[in-house]
């Protein structure tokens, strides 16, 4: 059962890239929370713990051939849906939204778990049904249904950011599977229609965020505060940054959510454009490597799995960075491997585990 080739083909490049990025992330958390004097385990240590746990999970996933996972996709999906429903009914509320389940040692966010479940189930479907001519509008009703169920549940929480993430991941996989031109145009129109209709279905705070994004200076102490302070933090970092633990915006608490969603602002303020360039380079390499893994995958399931996981990481990076540098509205999306948070770290590491799994079994037919 255990093949020597598995060891020789182990994707060290992927693991090291992930560890370097996550290591920078932990150091950045150390700086971001340097001025906190509350007792208990420091956040960066907790994050280090999550990272170790994540690596363990990733390695564990590598032990099981991903092709067996294909058969568990449906079960995993069902359990995830169940958690979503549970959270809707009984979940804890933060800032008006029910998003997590308290498991004692950490808060499980089904919204994160469902991303993996959707990737698995769609990879399974696309692996079976992909054809050289691309899907027509009538052939995609099945994946559409699998996608719509969790999206509706997440929107009900409500969590627009996660719902969008799930849709982006699914769309990336679908586009890769191929669409007929007419279908592409049709879906494009449909998406526009939904977006317009969705504006009226948005919560006030969500609409305020979008309006604020368009003109943050109109409400500098209210909704625009996050964006303005983040832009000041990033911009005042300049070319070379203010130095480790020297960022005034972050150290003096002007930057909100600086250990979670706005962790990159802290990094960018303290390390400047040069530091940001290095970090973005690492992330870009991770994405390209993910696509490379997909290309070398032994089968179509592995290929779509890799594409899905890469899309997940990619969209999180883009939406989070776009948000903190004022290109996109503020939606609560963490930066993978960088923002503090157990669920995000575990979800990302599950994805990384799947990627490594696909990568190391590329020659096994």
């Amino acid at each position: 059962m255990f093949d020597r080739r598995l060891v020789s083909n182990f994707d060290w490049v992927l693991l090291f890239t992930v560890l370097i990025v996550a290591g920078i992330g932990v150091a950045n958390l150390f700086s971001a929370t340097a001025s906190w004097h509350s007792g208990g385990t420091p956040l960066y240590l907790k994050q280090l713990l999550w990272l170790s746990g994540g690596v363990l999970i990733a390695l564990t996933i590598c032990l099981v051939d991903y092709r067996h996972l294909e058969h568990f996709a449906i079960h995993f999906y069902s359990v995830s849906i169940g958690l979503l429903v549970y959270v809707l009914v009984l979940g804890k509320t933060t800032m008006g939204a029910a998003r997590w389940i308290n498991l004692g040692f950490f808060n499980l966010q089904p919204g994160e778990v469902i991303k993996i479940a959707v990737i698995l189930i769609l990879a399974r479907i696309f692996a079976k049904t992909a054809n050289p001519f691309g899907y027509s509008l009538f052939e995609i009703w099945q994946p559409a249904l699998w996608l719509l169920l969790p999206v509706v549940l997440i929107l009900k929480e409500p969590d627009l950011g996660t719902a969008m993430m799930v849709i982006f991941i699914a769309a990336s996989m679908l586009l890769f599977a191929g669409l007929k031109r007419g279908t592409l145009i049709g879906l494009g129109l449909l998406g526009t229609l939904v977006a317009v209709a969705g504006w009226f279905g948005l919560h006030d705070y969500q609409r305020a965020r979008i309006r604020t994004f368009l003109n943050p200076e109109a409400d500098p102490l209210g909704s625009g505060y996050h964006i303005i302070q983040s832009k000041i933090a990033v911009g005042s970092g300049g070319l070379f940054g203010k130095g480790f633990i020297q960022g005034t915006q972050s150290q003096l608490s002007f930057l909100p959510e600086r250990h979670t969603d706005f962790a990159f602002s802290v990094f960018s303020e303290e390390w400047g454009f040069v530091g940001s360039l290095v970090l973005l380079g690492l992330y870009f390499f991770l994405i390209v490597w993910g696509l490379y893994v997909a290309r070398r995958a032994a089968d179509r399931f592995g290929l779509f799995l890799a594409v899905g996981v890469t899309a997940m990481i990619f969209w999180h990076i883009v939406v989070n960075l776009g948000m903190v540098i004022g290109l996109l509205p503020v939606v609560g999306v963490p930066l993978p491997l960088f923002s503090y948070g157990g669920t995000s770290m575990v979800t990302t590491m599950i994805g990384v585990g799947l990627l490594m799994n696909v990568s190391m079994r590329r020659f096994m037919f």
Binding site: P132, A233, G238, L291, A294
Partner: protein, 614 residues
């Protein structure tokens, strides 16, 4: 599996890997462009905003400029005062803190709580004062317990310190808390509620010179406004030094001579118009205002019917009485009226009888005797011949009836009546009887002590009317001269030498000859020229009614005592005017005060001159 591979090998699918990588590259490039825009292109703007974000400016009190006398003797300075304040941001348990502080400061907990609440309108990084100007003992007690008093700090603030128990308080003036209107006027940069500024007299008029420039303390705060550390200090610049025209020694002499009576005294330098001493009684101590005066203390001062807050030298308007006769005599000689009158003790016109102060009468009286012995009848007769309008013109030439230009606020104009004035004021014709009583400085005639001093200086100067000066010079701390007022001649009053001599000789006789009413002001070593005055306050129906238990006239009905003088008579240097309210007799009550001032002036001159001769 083979099918898998075949699909993957399709050029369209292979292109998708390339396309996805390229799309990712483009998006990452966009992110980098945005970062470039923020961190390189907008750097300066955002950098500046990040500095503004975290810094706040605290102002530092500037010590007020000191005030010296003409010889550089310190009159008003600043002393350090200890203020116990609390940084709200550092207090976790307010109840406990106040329980500990209350016995240390001798203050009720409720009082501390009230101060705390008042401080809440200020930003959290600014200390809230709990107790101002506490004693050194209390300050030390608080510092001993500082470990148990988190957030409590001792600040040292400059407070106005008045040496000599607030001598010349009316000239110097006092401080008070800045008002909302003053804050909004834009004249007070960096000032805030609770700051003190000059409110009256010199402290007010010269406030721009005295206040100095506040310093700034740039501090770093966090998002809650909590003070974290000090970044930069611009020290405050103390206010400029003011040298007054006052002579501290002469001022002390005038203070001592006046004692506890009510009234005013002023001494002028005849050549320059500089005020050498200025006394207004009763007085107050500006120190009471230096740290904020309590409401009831203020009311006691403001409602005292002897008016301690009023500067009677410039705002006390008194009938000048016989001191006015100097002007009448001069004006009469100018008009060629040089009477010799037989004074029988009274004077009758149009069925009205006007008495001379000497009931037996002065008998044959000429100008010199009339002034020397202050014969009322001679002046009734002369004034009537002169007429009120000519008298009025002469009086106004000497600075009476209008402000003399005292450089600080609050001066009143007194009153010199004329026919025209009465028509406008009362719409009634002028009566001869009114001229009669105006001729002895009664009736409508009113003058302030400073006007009488200016008049006397002009007589001493052969008609040169000078504007009174208060400030000799203003200097900054590097010794640069900022202001040095020059003597200012208001006008030259023209009289013949003969006229001057006649009147001035008579004024010397007042003090130095037998029967002179001013003999109380006579000095051995210097020839004093002067004139007494005793002015009726309220005209009574008869001399007999309303006597108090001891058979004396009740205080409020007693006449004011006046004395004006200059010395040395041959070559005058100092002019003095003294008014003792309800002092009964000009010669006996006011004369000795003038004498002591002149005497001290001569002594001080003696002390300095030998050195100059060496």
């Amino acid at each position: 599996m083979a099918l898998d591979q075949k699909w993957k090998e399709l050029p369209a699918v292979q292109r998708r890997f390339l396309f996805y990588s390229a799309a990712a590259a483009v998006i990452f490039l966009l992110l980098l462009l945005r970062l470039w825009y923020l961190q390189v292109i907008s750097y300066e703007d955002l950098q500046e905003r990040s500095i503004r974000n975290r810094t706040r400016v605290l102002s530092l009190d500037a010590p007020r400029g000191p005030i010296f006398d003409r010889n550089g003797v310190l009159l008003v300075d600043n002393r350090p005062s200890f203020q116990i304040s609390v940084m709200r941001q550092d207090v976790e348990n307010r109840t406990l803190l106040f329980e500990r502080l209350s016995p240390l400061l001798d203050m009720e907990i409720s009082e501390l709580e009230q101060r705390w609440q008042e401080g809440r309108r200020f930003p959290i990084y600014r200390p809230v004062p709990l107790a101002e100007d506490v004693t050194r003992e209390i300050m030390e007690r608080v510092q001993e317990h500082s470990v148990d008093l988190p957030g409590v700090l001792t600040e040292v603030r400059p407070v106005r310190d008045y040496l000599d128990h607030g001598s010349a308080a009316h000239l110097i003036g006092y401080l008070g808390e800045i008002t909302e209107a003053e804050l909004q006027s834009g004249d007070f940069k960096l000032y805030r509620g609770g700051d003190f500024i000059g409110k009256t007299s010199l402290e007010r008029t010269f406030d721009p010179y005295l206040r100095g420039e506040k310093g700034r303390r740039l501090v770093e705060v966090d998002v809650q406004g909590k003070l974290l550390r000090q970044l930069q200090v611009e020290p405050s610049r103390p206010g400029n030094k003011i040298y007054l025209t006052l002579d501290r020694e002469l001022q002390r002499a005038a203070d001592t001579a006046f004692g506890s009576q009510s009234g005013a005294a002023i001494a002028l330098d005849v050549k320059t118009g500089e005020i050498l001493a200025m006394v207004s009684r009763p007085t107050f101590n500006p120190a009471w205002f230096a740290k904020g005066i309590a409401g009831d203390e203020w009311n006691a001062l403001a409602q005292d019917n002897r008016h301690p807050l009023q500067n009677k030298v410039i705002a006390g308007q008194y009938p000048p009485g016989s001191t006015f006769k100097i002007v009448v005599a001069l004006a009469a000689l100018r008009e060629g009226i040089n009477n010799t009158v037989d004074c029988k003790g009274d004077f009758v016109i149009a069925d009205s009888r006007y008495r001379c102060w000497k009931k037996r009468g002065h008998r044959i009286t000429d100008l010199k005797k009339a002034l020397r012995e202050s014969c009322d009848v001679w002046f009734y007769q002369t004034g009537l011949e002169l007429g009120i309008d000519k008298l009025s013109v002469a009086a106004k030439e000497f600075g009476l009836g209008a402000p003399v230009g005292y450089p600080l606020p609050g001066e009143r104009s007194g009153l010199i009546p004329s026919q025209e004035w009465k028509r406008q004021r009362y719409n009634k014709p002028w009566y001869a009887g009114e001229t009669v009583i105006a001729s002895i400085g009664q009736g409508f005639v009113l003058a302030t002590p400073i006007q009488l001093a200016v008049m006397m200086a002009a007589v001493a100067n052969h008609g040169k009317v000078l504007k009174p000066q208060v400030v000799r010079r203003v200097e900054d701390w590097d010794g640069h001269l900022l202001l040095q007022p020059e003597p200012e001649v208001v006008r030259q009053v023209e009289y013949s030498q003969k006229t001057w001599k006649a009147v001035r000789d008579a004024l010397v006789a007042v003090v130095n000859e037998p029967h002179g009413t001013g003999h109380a002001a006579r000095l051995d070593n210097v020839l004093v020229a002067g004139k007494t005055g005793t002015s009726q306050v309220i005209r009574r129906k008869s001399d007999e009614e309303e006597l108090d238990e001891e058979g004396k006239t009740p205080y409020r009905f007693r006449p004011h005592a006046l004395f004006v003088a200059y010395a040395p008579a041959e070559k005058p240097e100092i002019a003095v005017a003294v008014v003792v309210e309800h002092g009964q007799s000009g010669g006996r009550a006011a004369g000795p005060i003038a004498k002591q001032i002149i005497q001290r002036y001569m002594e001080l001159k003696e002390e300095i001159s030998p050195e100059l001769e060496e």
